[in-house]
């Protein structure tokens, strides 16, 4: 233990109880669905039973005539929008596409696509009413894979979509929305210098973020034309911006009140129900509440992309990576905008390779529009790159961590996509993984008699992280505590990580800062809780707001002591004269006497920081594979990550463990399972099968702290990168257990048996 007297920080790095904790363990915390306004109507969406169809007509007359129905909405009730690209925070999307995703125009593009909606006095009546809406469909053939969608004669989702390829817009309609390229050096020269070349193809299925709380919203209009939305979102301001664009009303007429949010992982940024509820509420003249069923969440909201990836990598005999060439094609779902660009940027970022070429294709298919999901795009890509690297290590008979240490990126190295790394901690994660007892422990073989095979795998991952705009206000209470107001919805303990940065700055205890998440009418602009940005950027705003408080409080203290503010230091909650240590006054006393020194003190800060610290992780996993059933069990898991600076280590560990658990689900169970007609067959938790606590062991974490030079406390975002390594690490472990390379996700029992030739 570090002595508290010599420790650099007093609050940062400790593990106080989170400020919103008691409300969340008592059931008192109010989530989106816990809101109930007087006179509320219940809204329900009619969804397409087809993956691809033309809408010939929609007849809502019978639904409208049903007693209790107060409003019916179709796309005709939304303003028509022109093409306009909007930045949603973790993804960009064309607003016209966003509008037609919310309520279909002309065609339905996936099973579950919203077609119409009803508001009624009860949910039962609303459900009855949507069944009375008659939609005449002309069913069209669906395209369900990038391969099918990229065929020259493939059915087209959007007759006007053409390919933007390396900056040029083609004129031929296509399902390929874009082709981008990253190029560095000369790959042919690199491969000619390689002693070992491995080339493989990988396929992954769409997977859902899987937050436990379904999407929910309540919309209410006032007679003065203003709209208030109570909901569950990762970004209240992002919702406000999207609603303003979709409904063509000024942002100043919209107030978005974010309630507690039951998980998001990227999936609660773009709007789905919100504009529909607003349209229905306007037509009905009453508040409308809409909550998705679990099946609707799976069918109608964003999974992340399925993908096809081909990767060729070459290394010299002494284990130096010489060249890498990759082809990535990601399913965007029904509208352009997969995270293939991010995938291509992250794929090889952990390695210093002279010769790289990556071609990335964004392809529309008849599946739900892909949404952001924790390190969007990077997990698919790392599954390929980290599997190929494992194979190269095997061919060279090199230890996989030693190989990565030899080729790993460090400060000053240039990523293939351009940026030069500042101080990063990738090599440190490798060293920590190597030193961890897990890596040298013998593989468990106590129950070898059951026929299971054991293997260990390692993989690394990279994520860029994000900065973005944040606001914080810190007002001083007369008892010397701080009310801290921020605009970032708290999904995993960010009230605590923000408040702790404020407390550290002012020499207060964590519990002396009272954080509140405010609505869009009560705080300055703040971007989404996503991109691993909140503890970094909103935390920075809280640090700056605290600095502002400190400046003002120093002046007040100086006034009370009748000395110059320049003569004062704040330490341990006491302002003391630098010249005369007898002259001092406590922060609390100054706070109590604000009325006599000029009135209230409020610190404020807005930030848009540039010094984003990228994140690296290295994972080690032991598995047992049953060759007879194909089932893989996770026996032991260790996640190592450079977090820059852990503000609240427990919640940093929690992010790492949660990312691993999602990665394990992605690796072994989870997939969107379609029939040939493009109907989703597993739209329930039971059939989608996320990991339960019986599927996982304890998840060991190693926090590596290589401070980010771009943040006052050295923070790097921590939330996203831990989902990146697991599928590759587990695939490598499976190989070392049974000698078969897996190139498909999920590596379900069926896929393992197929790969080992036990299925015909």
């Amino acid at each position: 233990m570090t002595d508290t007297k010599t420790r650099k920080y007093q609050v940062i790095g400790t593990r106080p109880i989170r400020h919103d904790g008691v409300d969340k363990v008592t059931g008192r915390a109010r989530y989106g669905a816990d809101i109930h306004l007087p006179g509320t109507l219940y809204g329900k969406v009619l969804r397409s039973p087809h993956a691809h169809a033309r809408i010939r007509s929609i007849d809502t007359s019978k639904a409208e005539a049903l007693p209790g129905v107060k409003a019916v909405a179709t796309a005709k009730d939304q303003p028509a929008l022109a093409d306009k690209i909007a930045d949603l925070g973790e993804a960009v999307m064309n607003l016209r596409d966003l509008a037609t995703n919310v309520l279909a125009v002309g065609k339905v593009l996936y099973h579950g696509h919203a077609v119409a909606a009803v508001a009624a006095t009860s949910l039962e009546i609303a459900e009855e009413a949507i069944a009375l809406i008659e939609v005449d469909y002309e069913v069209l053939p669906p395209v369900l894979s990038v391969e099918a969608a990229m065929q020259p004669d493939a059915p087209l989702l959007h007759p006007t979509l053409t390919t933007r390829s390396l900056g040029q817009q083609s004129e031929t309609p296509s399902n390929i929305a874009s082709h981008s390229q990253i190029k560095k050096g000369d790959v042919d020269a690199g491969f000619s210098q390689s002693a070992v070349i491995v080339e493989r193809e990988f396929k992954t299925s769409p997977v859902h973020q899987g937050y436990i709380e379904p999407h929910t919203v309540t919309a209410q209009w006032s007679e003065d034309g203003s709209l208030t939305l109570w909901l569950s979102t990762q970004g209240a301001f992002s919702v406000r911006d999207q609603i303003a664009e979709l409904l063509k009303i000024p942002v100043s007429q919209i107030r978005v009140v974010p309630l507690e949010i039951g998980g998001g992982f990227g999936g609660k940024i773009q709007v789905y129900l919100e504009p529909v509820a607003a349209v229905l509420a306007k037509k009905a003249g009453r508040p409308v509440k809409m909550t998705m069923t679990r099946a609707e969440v799976f069918m109608g909201t964003g999974p992340t992309s399925g993908s096809t990836i081909r990767l060729k990598m070459g290394a010299s005999q002494d284990g130096r990576l010489m060249a890498a060439q990759a082809y990535l094609a990601y399913e965007a779902g029904a509208y352009p905008g997969s995270p293939v660009g991010a995938g291509s940027m992250c794929m090889l970022a952990p390695y210093n390779i002279e010769n790289v070429q990556i071609d990335a294709y964004d392809v529309v298919v008849n599946k739900p529009k892909a949404a952001a999901y924790r390190a969007p795009g990077a997990t698919n890509a790392a599954f390929a790159s980290e599997s190929v690297i494992d194979e190269i290590c095997e061919r060279l008979e090199m230890d996989p961590l030693e190989f990565r240490l030899k080729n790993g990126a460090k400060e000053g190295d240039r990523r293939a996509d351009g940026p030069v790394f500042p101080r990063i901690g990738y090599l440190e994660t490798l060293e920590a993984a190597k030193a961890h007892p897990h890596y040298s422990a013998p593989l468990t073989r106590s129950d070898d008699s059951d026929g299971r095979k054991y293997g260990r795998g390692v993989a690394s991952g990279f994520w860029m992280n994000y900065g973005g705009q944040s606001t914080a206000y810190a007002s001083v209470n007369s008892d010397g505590t701080i009310n801290l107001v921020e605009g970032s919805t708290d999904i995993g303990g960010t009230r605590a990580s923000s408040a702790m940065q404020c407390a550290e700055t002012l020499g207060l205890a964590s519990e002396d800062v009272k954080p509140v998440v405010a609505d869009t009418g009560s705080i300055g602009y703040t971007e989404v809780t996503g991109g691993s940005r909140t503890t970094f950027a909103t935390g920075w705003a809280c640090f700056e707001a605290a600095q502002d408080v400190k400046r003002q409080m120093t002046e007040r203290a100086a006034r009370l002591l009748k000395i110059s503010p320049d003569d004062l230091d704040l330490a341990g909650g006491v302002f003391t004269s630098k010249k005369d240590s007898e002259k001092s006054i406590g922060f609390k006393e100054v706070a109590a006497r604000l009325g006599e020194t000029g009135g209230p003190v409020v610190g404020r800060a807005t930030v848009q920081p540039k010094g984003v610290g990228v994140a690296f992780a290295t994972h080690v996993v032991d598995v047992a594979v049953d060759p007879e059933t194909g089932k893989t069990d996770i026996l032991r898991y260790t996640a190592v990550q450079d977090v820059g600076r852990a503000i609240h280590p427990s919640y940093v560990e929690g992010q790492m463990q949660g990312g691993v658990a999602q990665g394990v689900g992605w690796a072994l169970n989870e997939e969107y399972y379609y029939d040939d007609g493009g109907r989703l067959l597993n739209a329930s938790f039971l059939d989608y099968r996320m990991p339960t606590c019986l599927d996982l062991p304890m998840i060991d974490t190693v926090i590596v702290e290589v401070p980010n030079p771009g943040h006052p406390f050295g923070v790097r975002g921590v939330g996203e990168v831990p989902i990146v390594p697991p599928p590759a690490a587990i695939a490598n472990a499976i190989y070392h257990a049974i000698g078969t390379r897996m190139n498909v996700l999920p590596m379900s029992p069926r896929e393992v048996l197929e790969a080992t030739g036990q299925l015909d």
Binding site: R18, D34, H36, I212, G654, Q657, G658, F685, T692, C693
Partner: protein, 155 residues
Amino acid sequence: MKTHVQARINGEEVEFLCEPSQSLLEVLRDVLGLTGAKEGCNNGNCGACNVILDGRLVNSCLVLGVETQGSEIATVEGMAADGRLHPLQQRFLEEAALQCGICTPGFLVSARALLDVHPHPTEQQARQWLAGNLCRCTGYDKIVRAVIGTADGGR
């Protein structure tokens, strides 16, 4: 036609009217305003709505309100008593066993039911008992530690 139901919830006599089709979860949340039980799936897959009904752990979304006539129901709202958190609640806070918190009430109720049956559960018993509760944030590590730690009486 609504049915009149009388039950004890968290030790108090409660009367309510409910539709024959309304689940206990709907009654708790929409009729009685007890929104601690959460709806994650409405088909018994996720455990976010778990309550203890006459000593048995149940998914309240799979019980009809009218079935609870004369029964004893314990929800998350009844765990803290006399101004003090239940030891499980306290331990969840100390171990950081929650992130978004939507699954937390369900886990706490399930863990309480577990400790009633196995006052000192092994890790395997705890995992088996909690396997009906889905959490997407934590990877379960800190939840399992908090539950076992509560049984061991803290450090």
